[in-house]
Structures are given as structure tokens and as C-alpha cells.
Symmetry: C2
DNA sequence: TGCGTTTTGTAGCGCTCGCTCTAGAATGCA
DNA sequence: TGCATTCTAGAGCGAGCGCTACAAAACGCA
């Protein structure tokens, strides 16, 4: 019973995500957003609210369609494999993006989270989801013997969350495969169960080399 | 042979560092800076150049007086102790700062480095210094037997650099001692040398617990 | 075909941005 | 005591900021 919307909301939202993702919150102007989304400022405010509200929605969409989908997919793999695939995909995604945007969630953690309690909570909640993904994988891997029991799932999961954040930061400064894989390889090696009476608790392919 | 400067340049620079550190580059205005530094815009531009130049100088000062000093200090400790102290201090610094500013260098890595080649190079160089601090510690520790030889110094150092970056990101979102120590504890445990024929290569105090 | 409702384009609001201009104040040297 | 030089204060430049007012346009429904 009114004039219908002329633009594709999903496409516009994806354009907004790309902008915020690449430039961050402060360095992105509403006019930049409207241009990329292919709509006018009036339509933008009418459909998505103000800049901060749009950012919040963009971040939510990014998390749900990007990260959330990944976690659900990895969850179906064997525990150890799930963790390794998660990190391998993060490396690939970082290297495949010529704009070096990194992970929008990690960017948000330093960009908007410190200055906005509501967004900080949102970011923190997603980090908790990632941590709990790790924790479930680790608990499963400890049960089937593929992951060391020398440390508690919670401890290892917190460590892996930290490694993930660090990986995504490093990827924006030094986007080289060797550097990124260097960050994760010891973390994966650490997960390997100890040999029954062996002297090394290290994954088969990681040999010491200078 | 001319009118002398009336303000304390070092104090003004420290004020600029605090501003940029807390708010980032984009969200800090030149007027904010001038107010905090206790000088006028004219004096600011006259003494420090434009906003970007001031940021660059502030970052350099931060690195030299903050991080650089810390690395030199830790370097004098026993290798294993140096690494542990580095991380412990990072945790303490993160928790002691009510403004949760994190590490200005890590903030810069996501804030300005991706959009400014020169600053990215500068950030990358400092990260390389941190990594080489870790590498020297690890090489030394492997010689005196305090650090595992199951992986090369370079590999472990890259991992620790990633952990440091992740730690500083997490500290801005979830500034809780337990979370931050949870990130670093497995990393430190991983450094422990294997028992001669033992089944666990884990530091004494880290016991498995759910 | 008019009516109520929502969207769209345009123009522009008040404000702040980074930065600069100019006049005067404060020095060392001649 | 002039002079050259540097610094300080204040006003203000053009531009862009986030955001909105307004009227025309496009619908479902009567």
C-alpha cells in the first residue's frame, strides 16, 4: 500500500559491509556508503538508520554469513582437522584479498569496540563463540585421542583465540604465507598428543629447521 | 637569534601520543591534539608538521621509549625468563590501563598501516624487532637447555609474535586477567624442554583442569 | 481516479575537519 | 637600539562531515 523499495537491500548491505570492512568506521563517510550501495543518503537513512546503526547491522551480517557459516561447516570435521582447517582458511582468505582487509570482526575489536560499550559486547560475544568452537573441538579431540590432554580444553581454546586474533592482525601488515603459517604451525603442533614414551610431541611434518 | 619556543616539546609529544593511542588516527582531530598538548594549532603545525607527520613522530616516540626500552631491559634476563616477563608485563600493562588503550603499535597495525605504505613499513619493521627479540631469546634458551629444541627459533618466534598481537587485541575487548593469561600460558608451556624420557613437556604449574 | 503511505532525489542545514594567513610578540645579533 | 628571525594567538579558509526537510514519484486500496 505504498511505494516499494527500488534497490536490493541485500546487495546494498553487502556493499556497506565491504566499505566498513576495508576502511573501518571512522574513515568511512555516509556519502561513500551511499555511493557504494547505489542509493541516496535519504534512502540509506530511511532503510538502515544512522551510520552507527548501519555499522552494527553490517557487522552482524558479516559475522552471521561469514564467520558463523564457517564455524558450522568446520564443526562437521574431525576435531583436529576442524581447527587446522579454520586456521588454514583464515590464512588463505587473508592472502587472497588484495585489499588486505583482514577480518572485519578483528578490525572492529580495535576500531569501534573500545569506544562503544554495546559494540564491544557484540564483538566480545562473537569472540566467545570462536573460543567455544575451539573448546568443543579440543574436548572432542581429547576424547578420540587426536589432541593432547596435557592442558585443559579451556586453556588451549583461549590460546587459539589469541593466535587467531594475532594472525588476522599480522595479515594486514605482513601478508605473506610464510609469516602467517609460521604463526599457526607451532599452535597446531602443540595440540598433538604426546607419543606414549616418545621424546617429541610434535606433528609429523614439522621438523626443526633454521 | 629568534623567539624561543614557549612550550615543552617532550610534554606536548607525550600528550599527542596519549591522544592518538587512545582514539586512533581518524577519530583524533587536530584541535583535540592542540588542546591536549597545551598549544595552538599554529604552534602545532609549526613545530610538528601536519597531522600525519605528527602521528608518525608520536608512533616512533612510543616505540622507542616504550617498546624499545622494554626489549632492551628484558634482553638482560635469562632467555626463558625474558619471554615470560615480556608477556607478563604486557598483561599487567593492559589491565592497569583503565582506558584500555592496548598497545599503540598494534592499534596502528589495523588503524593506519593498511592505508599508508610508509607507516605499514614502519609498523612491520617494529614487529620484526619484536620477532627477533623472541628469536634471540629462543636461540639462547635452546643453547642453555631452558627451551625446547623441537622447533626452530624462527618458527617459535613467529608464533610468539602472533600471540603477542592477539593478546593486545583481546585486551581491548575483554580486559580480564584470566582471559589474557589463558592466551599466553600454553605458549609458555610449549617452550618448556621435553623431559628426557618423560611423557609431558609442560611447565610445572600448568595442570590439566576443566 | 483520488487517498494514504512509503521511497526517492535534491538541496542544504549546522558543524567540524585539516590547515593557513596575518599581525604582533619575543628573542640574538649588529 | 634597530634588524632579522622565529614563535604565538586568533580568525577563518574551503571542504567535507552526519544528517534532515521537502516535494515529487510510485505503489495498494477505496
Amino acid at each position: 500500500m505504498a511505494r516499494p523499495r527500488e534497490f536490493d537491500e541485500a546487495a546494498a548491505m553487502n556493499a556497506a559491509i565491504r566499505r566498513f570492512w576495508a576502511k573501518g568506521y571512522e574513515a568511512t563517510s555516509v556519502r561513500d556508503l551511499a555511493d557504494d550501495m547505489g542509493i541516496t543518503c535519504a534512502s540509506l537513512y530511511n532503510a538502515f538508520g544512522d551510520k552507527r546503526t548501519l555499522y552494527r547491522k553490517a557487522l552482524d551480517h558479516y559475522v552471521e554469513n561469514g564467520l558463523g557459516e564457517r564455524l558450522r561447516r568446520y564443526q562437521r570435521l574431525a576435531p583436529r582437522k576442524a581447527i587446522a582447517t579454520f586456521f588454514a582458511d583464515s590464512v588463505t582468505r587473508s592472502l587472497d584479498d588484495p585489499a588486505r582487509r583482514g577480518c572485519m570482526l578483528v578490525n572492529a575489536a580495535l576500531d569501534v569496540a573500545p569506544h562503544d560499550p554495546e559494540l564491544r559486547r557484540a564483538v566480545s560475544d562473537v569472540l566467545a563463540r570462536i573460543e567455544s568452537f575451539f573448546r568443543r573441538c579440543i574436548a572432542g579431540g581429547q576424547k578420540d585421542g587426536s589432541i593432547t590432554t596435557s592442558q585443559a580444553p579451556k586453556a588451549l581454546a583461549e590460546h587459539l583465540l589469541g593466535v587467531h586474533l594475532g594472525l588476522r592482525v599480522l595479515a594486514r601488515v605482513r601478508p605473506e604465507r610464510a609469516a602467517l603459517e609460521g604463526v599457526i604451525r607451532p599452535a597446531l603442533a602443540m595440540l598433538a598428543p604426546e607419543r606414549a614414551a616418545g621424546r617429541r610431541g610434535v606433528a609429523s611434518k614439522s621438523k626443526a629447521q633454521e
